[in-house]
Amino acid sequence: MRAPPEEPPARKSVFFGVGGLLAAMLYLALVLRVDSQSAILGLLAIGATGVFIAARLDLISAFRQSYRDNERVMDVLSIVAVLILAAGFHNSSFILFLLTTVLINIIACLGLNLQFGYAGMLNFAGAAMLGVGGYTAALLGQNAAIPPILLLPLGGLFAAVIGSILLPPMLRTQGHYSAVVTIAFNLLFTTFLEVYGGFGGTQGLPVQSMSLLGLDFNDDWKINGFEVAFYANYFVLGLMLTVIVAAVVRRMERSWIGLSLDAVRLDETSARCFGVNIALWKAVAFMSGNFIIGLAGTFYALMLGYIAPTNFTFGDSLILVTIIILGGLGSIWGVILTAAIVIILPEKLQAIQEYRFLLYAIVVTFVLLFQPGGLLPRAPRIFFPGWRP
């Protein structure tokens, strides 16, 4: 609905934003807390009904509008809410590990979104790029006296550089053909690691733990009798990385850079006629996307403490692509929502663990059929909050 022009520029209500955030966090806390399979199933049914009713009552659009109108406030509140949620699970290694895994997937998918969501370059080598980051952490971490925090940008850099091998064939092909190049790369990547003995082969490699300013991230800690599992360290750093990456990606989208990437995706021929250098912008999207994915992979390896080729298979790439398609191409909040669903659900609902690929295939098909924009479709570009041309 279009707002009447005489509407005063009053502060828009945060009510729906805060309400939606609280509901989502409570629901997530319940899902994480409950263990019995029947209770999980019940929660899922309640969640689905709740979302359906909210959609019917137009609450979801009110929620999104409220987020958009009060962006800074809602950004901060969301971060605080996630921190409070994690604090509630301070002594549960498994839950903190799971939440951090979600964050890592969010970061990787934000990188993938730059490539596919904005520039339209479908990349099925996401897991390989995670792997490049992971192996950078393992190999550089064991050999040299590099501080672990520096491994993060180095892992990203290696992924960007190694990924750029794919650029010449990808620039010569389009659409599906270009995607096939990336599939081949991911298969070659895992096969190479398995066959080549130098990097641990199928056994994999140990990775040193993260440490910063003398604090080893793999130490549990205690404050006033409060037991905190060491994964909390990784969670906090992961959240910081997620916020930084999301802010950068959002600024890219809300700038001439994002507009150029959109132009490349939507119509290469007309973009070229307006002076857009297609190769340059594809390289920008692909390399910066791979940098972000590589960064996520490095962090993942530092947290896991051990990596093997099986962590970075083509199937893992499919999960990443599933997340961004389900969330809505180019939608940052969409990635955050679906990464949480896609990562947490199979862990809590053991029954679907085996069949998750089948399930994702069905869900993706249905979403593409009935809601092609994804669960939270990307909103039209606003260069600055509140700015209108």
């Binding site: 600024r251 700038s255 850079i257 939507l266 007309s270 307006f274 002076g275 857009v276 041309p389």
Partner: protein
């Protein structure tokens, strides 16, 4: 030239073959600076191929294009754009999922600052350029439709056909080109809408001063109304060139359009 008019663009023996099909056949054409030039011809006569080879989408098989004193043969679309040539497409190629403003800014690409500093870090600079560009876009849209200028934040997909055409033309005009190539802008519009659009365009051209327009068009009424001179293509060859009156009087043109017994029909 002794007449004092300056040639902006000339094609010399321009030829384009697609396999066995000769889409452009040794085309010689001179377009003068600041004129409104029409290109007409039956379907498949090579009009769009002329635009596509000129703007670097396909290379010429042989021959050359000289624009503003320099050789433009087989340049990339990017070089053509930077030389000051903008175009629209026969089948509308606006981005429906983007706002009107975003679409115009794609046309303005070469004048935007894409640096990391202004776009990601010191966004005050981006804001300043954004305001400046929004003002430019608004002024341009005002010439064509003041109401459209108020809807710059809306998606193009929600605009009616006539506005999409206006947007596409404005997207080509916003970079202040020296040469504008319009590929059948009347497709899918009523005659009244089309006349309105063309009047706006003529008015814009008059105010812009140094603007040359080449228009591909089927609608003879429009050619008569707006062009200074026109050329008729048939099977990739130029069969006639001159003012509208000269062209319609030409027997070969009448045959190309209406068949051999055309004279009686036109009379």
């Amino acid at each position: 030239m002794n007449t004092g008019v300056q040639i902006l663009l000339s094609s010399r023996q321009a030829t384009k073959r697609f396999g066995g099909v000769i889409a452009l056949d040794q085309l010689n054409l001179d377009i003068f600076r600041r004129e409104f030039f029409g290109v007409i011809g039956p379907n498949g006569s090579g009009k769009t191929t002329l635009f596509n080879t000129l703007t670097g989408i396909f290379p010429l098989t042989s021959g050359s294009f000289v624009y503003d004193g320099r050789d433009l043969t087989n340049s990339t679309p990017q070089q053509v754009c930077r030389a000051g040539i903008a175009r629209t497409f026969q089948r509308s190629r606006v981005c429906l999922g983007l706002s009107v403003f975003d679409n115009l800014m794609i046309g303005n690409h070469i004048f935007l600052d894409h640096g990391v500093w202004s776009n990601l870090i010191n966004r005050k600079l981006l804001y300043r350029q954004l305001e400046e560009m929004a003002e430019r876009a608004r002024t341009l849209l005002m010439t064509f439709d003041p109401k459209l200028a108020g809807r710059m934040g809306e998606l193009v997909g929600n605009q009616p056909m006539i506005d999409r055409r206006r947007i596409e033309i404005c997207r080509a005009l916003i970079s202040a080109p020296k040469l504008l190539l319009l590929d059948e802008p009347s497709a899918g519009m009523t005659q009244r809408e089309m006349h309105e659009l063309m009047d706006n365009l003529v008015e814009f051209k008059r105010r812009a001063g140094d603007l040359t327009i080449v228009l591909i068009e089927h609608e003879m009424k429009i050619i008569e109304r707006v062009t200074d001179r026109c050329a008729v293509l048939n099977f990739g060859r130029k069969i006639c060139e001159g003012s509208y009156a000269q062209v319609v009087a030409n027997l070969e043109v009448q045959e190309a359009y209406l068949g051999t017994n055309a004279k009686s029909v036109l009379a």
